[in-house]
């Protein structure tokens, strides 16, 4: 395939940048016209994520978190400032957004094909990727024959198939039940450890953010901005039910509530 596909998501990659930062956002603002007025979704957002880091952004809905990810994925252009991803980027949504006419393996294979992987190698690679998210044996299932958790696993395998350096996740487990979500946290953590991916994970759930993140960035609402940063030093793997985690999550939730009353 052509080389511009290999440059996927690197649309912002112009000029030199600091080597250790896998992802950086500088004074980024985004405004939409809405109801005849200008709605400022993001204002002067600056943040940096180091290579191999797992950073969570937590914020109320409407705080522009998704907008930020869309900009970083190259789907939208910011009004001002810049967002830069070093290397290739993959994006996961709250919905699995699998192509409904392709099997689980077909969805993964398409990502491989668009990345330029040779036909002869795709099948084995897809099988291996699905195996990695514990979906061995489900290769031939169509999306509508899979449960919500399994669909997100396929979406994760598809994101991995893109061989991205940075994985952006937009509330990917938001619609799942607690047990499934807990399992997927474990798997994401395992895959992150194995691959050394850089992950930016957006959620509105403070406990989920503390469960997963090396750092948690607390977003203010309307306009969205990084209001606060929490370093999470708890040993991994963490339990969602541990008191230490609950204490940190509680502090973050307080901040979020404080934000919303302003």
């Amino acid at each position: 395939m052509s080389s511009n596909i290999l440059q996927l998501g690197a649309g912002h990659a112009h000029g030199a940048d600091s080597e250790e930062h896998s992802l950086s956002v500088e004074r980024l603002s985004m405004a939409f016209p809405h109801d005849g007025r200008l709605l400022v979704a993001l204002e002067g957002v600056s943040l940096e994520v180091e290579q191999g880091e797992l950073v969570c952004i937590v914020g109320a809905s409407g705080s522009g978190k998704s907008t930020l990810l869309n900009i970083l994925a190259g789907l939208d252009e910011p009004t001002s400032g810049r967002g830069h991803v070093h290397g290739r980027v993959a994006l996961m949504f709250q919905e699995a957004a699998l192509l409904p006419w392709l099997t689980a393996a077909g969805n993964v294979e398409l990502a491989l094909e668009l990345r330029g992987v040779k036909r002869s190698e795709r099948r084995d690679m897809a099988r291996e990727l699905l195996n990695r998210v514990h979906l061995a044996g489900f290769e031939k299932r169509l999306p509508h024959e899979l449960s919500g958790g399994m669909k997100q696993r396929v979406a994760l395998a598809r994101a991995l198939a893109q061989d991205a350096d940075v994985l952006l996740m937009d509330e990917p487990f938001g619609a799942l039940d607690a047990i499934t979500r807990d399992r997927l946290h474990e798997e994401l953590e395992r895959i992150w450890t194995e691959t050394g991916l850089t992950i930016l994970f957006v959620t509105h759930n403070a406990r989920e953010a503390v469960r997963l993140g090396d750092r948690v960035l607390v977003f203010t609402s309307r306009p969205g901005r990084v209001g606060h940063e929490v370093k999470v030093d708890l040993p991994r793997p963490r339990s969602l039910d541990s008191p230490e985690l609950a204490v940190i999550a509680g502090r973050i939730t307080d901040r979020l509530k404080h934000e919303m009353t302003i």
């Binding site: 996927l8 789907l75 957004a97 192509l99 006419w101 668009l114 489900f138 299932r141 399992r183």
Partner: protein, 285 residues
């Protein structure tokens, strides 16, 4: 550990997954078939009842018995079979051309914003236009020949096909397009891998409707336009009228109806297959 977890997972997820529809294929075919057979039987009964009521004399409105006897004779008549073949050939060529033109038009209008604004609504408008209204113009343009008939058939079917494709492209879930973008599918690749497959169910709907329009337009064209010395079905119906031969007339109507229904049900099978694959059928449907 990992395999244990996987086994555990599959057992949990298996509960959540809907079972595939099961049962003997024969029983399923019968389940789909008997209401149709019952409807046909009812229709024949009503027909026969009207004939027996003496509303019209036998030679004006014959009953199903004589008509089907006549039909059996017709099939051993070479000219009749030739007529069916001529009509089917025209339907096939006209429809295939309409599919090609309609698809190309649909994609072009979907892709080019100016074209969309210019003729997007005109295509919808053409769909509701009875294509036989074009026939007088077609005769003047092409003469009384097959080209004129094809012209009418294509004008009848192509807008429906283009419209189906267009509405399919319009209603692709935006999130699938975004996913395609993120995976690196741009331009033509985005169409090939995401948009066109997503639009397929709607496109097949357009193909089905296009067929109905093509078949109608062809019949209208054949009845009005006697082309050369060919004995197409439409012409035979017209001859039967001229000779007040209602037995023959009804026999041909049965043939036209059966051809229409058979092809329509083929589209139905295709349509359901695609909807099932795309996950668009509700459970138990």
């Amino acid at each position: 550990m990992a395999t244990e977890l996987a086994a555990d997972l599959s057992s949990v997820d298996a509960v959540e997954t809907a079972p595939r529809p099961s049962g003997f294929p024969l029983r399923r075919v019968w389940a789909g078939l008997w209401p149709k057979l019952a409807a046909a039987a009812l229709l024949l009964a009503v027909w026969q009842a009207v004939v027996w009521s003496g509303w019209k004399p036998d030679y004006v409105l014959p009953g199903p018995g004589p008509v089907f006897k006549r039909l059996a004779q017709d099939f051993s008549n070479v000219n009749f079979d030739l007529g069916v073949a001529i009509t089917l050939r025209r339907a096939l060529i006209g429809y295939a051309t309409a599919v090609a033109i309609g698809s190309a038009l649909g994609i072009l209008v979907a892709r080019v914003a100016v074209l969309r604004k210019a003729i997007g609504s005109a295509i919808l408008g053409l769909q509701s236009m009875p294509s036989i209204a074009w026939f007088p113009l077609a005769i003047l343009l092409f003469g009384l020949n097959e080209t004129a008939i094809f012209f009418v058939v294509i004008l009848g079917a192509a807008p429906a096909i283009a419209g189906g494709l267009l509405s399919g492209v319009d209603h692709v879930q935006p999130i699938l397009v975004r996913v395609g973008h993120v995976m690196g599918a741009r331009g033509l690749n985005l169409y090939r891998y995401v948009i066109l497959p997503a639009a397929l169910p709607s496109f097949v709907g357009g193909l089905k409707q296009g067929w109905a329009f093509a078949w109608r337009s062809l019949m209208a064209g054949e009845i009005i336009g006697i082309v050369g010395h060919q004995v197409s079905l439409g012409q035979q119906i017209q001859f039967a009228r001229d000779f007040s031969d209602t037995e023959q007339l009804l026999a041909i109507i049965v043939v036209i109806f059966v051809i229409g229904v058979v092809i329509d049900s083929l589209f139905g099978v295709l349509d359901r297959g695609i909807r099932r694959r795309w996950g668009l059928l509700g459970e138990g449907a």
